[in-house]
């Protein structure tokens, strides 16, 4: 399982396993894109990508070559509240990887030409994402649900905002972010305590000690009414539909009740949402519901993708199903079924050292209740139909909804608007909009 140590004042989590000759190294930061200035969305991610474009005697090309030669990968995930840099390496090359990682995070050089090259690459990648309809729907959904809150701001930025970022700001952001007090380290896989402690000590010693950046933010505020965000794209034969609202927060007393209720509604192949949309009517390849877990209250989302000719009916039925769930709740046998599913399939949440490490890191980075994962099974087993029904009624009323759809405005918008009862507002967003 996992063990926690304090090294150089920073929490270090170990999740060892000798099953494969691979090691994962995760450097977590307790800060993320919430610090992006208005008009400079994408800044934090830009900084994280920039640090591997030159460091302590290594050019960008040297770093890329070195990573490949070591049999290593380095990935960056930036969230509003936190950040993960994850490296995976053949275990025989761990020491060399740690040396390279230390240079990258502690002594990046931010070469001007590389920063401009990276900026142009990021802008080109942003434009490329317009090909992905599901991504377009999710982007519109977040915009509708969170508005100006940090969860509504785009972590990858916009063409305009990336163009506005001053490289000098990246250096300052790096200095503030990579301090020992802002870092949490994790090692999983083929690494023992001695090796992990030595690696952690060397890496953390290279970072300064300083107060961490202040990055807290409030919960998002619920919007009243039902709001449609329609992404207009030519020649669509299918809608990508995201329907939802603010969800549950891990510190809510009924959070696990809500989670079980959402899984019972749309979290499995045989759940009612999937059954009604896919199995009975053949309207979509899939239909699912999920509850996001984040540092602050995040979203509850229903997703489906019907052909445009049945899109309005599918949207209407999705809303009706949520309404009906609030009215009638669950039967005990349905919740018993989901309890069994969640308890028994939990084995697959913890079947690799990397997943176990991820759970332990989440508790720190998302500031989850300390027993969120360790007490998860018992909490799930304690959920009854009454509790799950009450939680869904309380947290997921269908009165306030955001509906995001990708379609072709002239052909599909009017029918979709007509199908959504009590629609408060409609916003049409061109698929190639920039902000």
């Amino acid at each position: 399982m996992t063990r926690e140590l304090t090294i150089q004042g920073a929490t270090t989590i170990l999740s060892p396993s000798t099953a494969l000759p691979l090691v994962n190294v995760t450097i977590g930061l307790r800060s993320g894109a919430s610090s992006d200035p208005i008009g400079q969305e994408g800044q934090f991610r830009y900084m994280l990508k920039a640090i591997r474009r030159g460091a302590d005697g290594f050019s960008a090309e040297d770093i890329d070559n070195r990573l490949d030669l070591l049999g290593a990968e380095l990935e960056v995930e930036v969230y509003a509240s936190h950040t993960l840099l994850t490296a995976q390496v053949l275990s025989r090359n761990l020491d060399a990887l740690m040396d390279l990682l230390t240079r990258i995070i502690a002594r990046p050089t931010f070469p001007e030409a590389e920063l401009e090259l990276l900026r142009r690459e990021m802008i080109a990648e942003l434009i490329e994402t317009r090909d992905d309809d599901r991504n377009l729907a999710q982007l519109a959904f977040r915009r509708g649900l969170f508005g100006d809150h940090v969860y509504g701001r785009r972590i990858v930025g916009w063409v305009k905002s990336l163009s506005a970022i001053d490289p000098i700001g990246l250096r300052a952001l790096h200095r503030q972010s990579f301090v020992r007090e802002n870092v949490i380290l994790g090692f999983s896989g083929d690494i023992d305590d001695t090796r992990a402690e030595a690696a952690a000590t060397a890496l953390l010693s290279a970072l300064p000690s300083a107060p961490p950046p202040v990055t807290d933010f409030d919960h998002p505020v619920e919007r009243a009414g039902r709001h449609l965000l329609f992404v207009d794209k030519p020649e669509r034969t299918q809608h990508q539909l995201c329907i939802g609202r603010l969800g549950s927060w891990p510190h809510d007393p009924d959070h696990i009740d809500t989670t079980v209720g959402v899984v019972a509604f749309g979290g499995t192949f045989t759940a009612p949402y999937m059954r009604e949309i896919r199995v009975k009517r053949g309207w979509s390849y899939g239909a699912s519901a999920r509850l996001a877990v984040a540092k602050k209250r995040h979203g509850f989302t229903m997703w489906t993708a019907p052909a445009t000719e049945v899109g309005p009916d599918c949207a209407a039925l999705s809303i009706q199903l949520l309404e009906k769930l609030g009215e009638t709740g669950f039967k005990e046998k349905d919740i018993a079924f989901v309890r069994n599913y969640m308890a028994r399939s939990y084995a697959f949440e913890v079947d690799t050292p990397a997943k176990r490490l991820s759970h332990a890191l989440e508790v720190h980075l998302l500031e989850l209740p300390a027993d969120y994962h360790t007490g998860y099974l018992d909490a799930v087993k304690g959920v009854t139909a009454e509790k799950a029904s009450a939680a869904i009624r309380h947290r997921l009323s269908a009165d306030n909804l955001v509906i995001a759809a990708v379609g072709t405005k002239d052909e599909h918008l009017a029918a979709l608007e007509k199908a959504i009862p009590n629609l408060t507002s409609t916003v049409v967003i061109p698929f190639d909009t920039d902000g």
Binding site: S17, T18, A19, L20, P21, L22, E61, D64, N65, L67, D68, L69, G71, A72, E73, Q88, L90, L117, R120, E121, A124, E125, I127, E128, T129, R130, D131, D133, D190, K233, P234, R236, T237, Q238, T268, F269, T270, R275, R278, V279, K280, R281, G282, W283, S284, Y285, A305, A307, F337, N340, Y341, A343, R344, S345, Y346, A347, F348, D351, T352, A354
Partner: protein, 466 residues
């Protein structure tokens, strides 16, 4: 716990030694070293069912895969997509289970399950806590032999698949372009039609088509069951015999398809779609997965496309800044496939410009040797990639099932790793010379409507294959 996979000394020696007593009705065929442990091959003598067992005690779970040697290559024109539609239908009603009950039983027991179909195979997988083996064996055996195919389920599932096609192909630029590339490259061989099927074919299926397909291909002697996890082999064999012992074998018909004739002229197809920018797809005729040169071409693909340090990434993304995204893949098919490539072109650059740069770089691979540093990087990347697939019981079962079904050798990933290690720069150059032939290349241009100008008629134009 099994010892750690030693990729330094690939395990390549097969043994026919029998390990322990083999339960009645089973024949132990061989012991194959795999990932620091073994794969044990058994056959149920009554009906020819092959079982491959790999013990993996990393977690108290197991993964159960059933691989059928049937895919879209076994379809006929006008009936494309049948193998994939059938995969969907396998989750429906059986003689003893009402519609939906199959999934319900699996989920209630904590299963993660799904299925996939491609050109050469179809497989079904479920991962469960270790004490649930008897349940999944019973369910899988039941649908292998007692599936019920009725009109309402077939009709509803056709609609589901049509929507899957819209999502993956019709409203997805890269999906549509890839489909057109294979259609353009293969004029005879079934690899030319999409596994999901043409829309008109999907909509035309009747229950009788599905019934005939089922009776022909879904039989124990056309399947391999892979069990991987924290289980004991005696228990596995005992439970599988109870589940499958009564199922008779089938007469599996000999394959009846047209091999693809050699390509002697370049082919061009144009696709007009709403897209963020033009895309260039190239498909060079490639080797089959069992071809000894497949490993060399895979390494060359890594040198050209593998990560930011690769040749084409450096040239097109970093130096010329004319491409946003690029990918290359040597198809892992039983018969010769493609070395296919995709380039997403940046604003201000043209298809022709990128095409010329790519051909020049591919030309360099035919004249100059790759450096030893480039080759070592490619080998390390592929070693990492293999190990990443082995981190769960499900990942291991998939590797075993895939290589068994395509190459008849569950340990082939380790043999390939050994082959990568032996491969020299000269062999990469030879592979480039053999396969990167402009006259054996199919090309797809994806053009946004605004750029298409007078090429309206090109919305789906394709020059006839020579």
């Amino acid at each position: 716990m099994a010892s750690q996979p030693s990729t330094d000394t690939p395990a390549v020696t097969r043994s026919k030694a029998v390990r322990g007593a083999v339960p009645e009705g089973w024949k132990h065929l061989e012991t194959i070293p795999f990932a620091g442990g073994t794969v044990e091959r058994y056959e149920l003598t009554h009906n020819g069912l092959t079982v491959l067992f790999h013990r993996d005690t990393q977690a108290p779970v197991f993964s159960y895969h059933t691989w059928f040697r049937v895919g879209s290559r076994h379809e006929k024109p006008g009936k494309t997509g049948l193998a994939h539609l059938f995969e969907h239908l396998m989750f429906n009603e059986t003689e003893n289970l009402a519609a939906g009950e199959f999934d319900r039983k699996l989920e209630e027991n904590g299963a993660e399950s799904n299925a996939a179909t491609w050109v050469d195979w179809t497989f079904y997988h479920a991962s469960l806590p270790r004490e649930r083996l008897a349940l999944v064996a019973k369910l899988e055996a039941e649908r292998m032999s007692q599936l019920v195919l009725r009109e309402p389920q077939v009709a509803s599932e056709k609609d589901v698949v049509a929507n899957e096609r819209r999502q993956r192909v019709d409203d997805d630029v890269e999906g549509a372009a890839s489909e057109l590339l294979y259609k353009t490259a293969f004029s005879k061989h079934p690899y030319g039609w999409p596994t999901i099927g043409w829309m008109e074919d999907i909509q035309g299926f009747e229950p009788a088509d599905c019934e005939a397909f089922y009776r022909t291909y879904y039989a124990p002697n056309n399947a391999t069951v892979v069990v991987c996890g924290d289980l004991k082999v005696q228990d596995v064999l005992t439970k599988l015999k109870v589940a499958y012992g009564h199922i008779p074998p089938s007469e599996i018909p000999a394959e009846d398809y047209q091999p693809e004739p050699p390509q002697t002229e370049a082919r061009l197809a144009i696709l007009k779609k709403p897209t963020s920018g033009p895309k260039l797809l190239l498909g060079f005729r490639g080797p089959s997965m069992g071809d000894p040169e497949h490993a060399a071409l895979t390494l060359l693909s890594e040198v050209l496309f593998g990560g930011r340090a690769s040749r084409l990434h450096k040239l097109l993304v970093t130096e010329k800044e004319c491409v946003t995204e690029l990918r290359g893949w040597v198809s892992t098919f039983r018969d010769p496939g493609l070395f296919d490539m995709l380039f997403a072109i940046r604003d201000g650059h043209t298809l022709e410009e990128v095409h010329a740069l790519v051909l020049a770089e591919l030309g360099r691979a035919k004249t100059d040797l790759v450096t030893s540093d480039e080759l070592e990087r490619a080998k390390a990347r592929l070693e990492l990639g293999l190990l990443q697939t082995l981190d769960t019981a499900n990942g291991r079962a998939e590797q075993i099932g895939f290589y068994e079904t395509v190459l008849g050798d569950p340990a082939a990933p380790f043999r390939r790793l050994a082959a990568y290690r032996r491969t020299t720069p000269g062999e990469l150059r030879a592979a480039a010379r053999r396969y990167l032939l402009e006259e054996a290349c199919s090309v797809v241009h994806v053009i946004p409507p605004d750029d298409a100008g007078d090429t309206d008629e090109a919305a789906a134009t394709q020059k006839e294959p020579s």
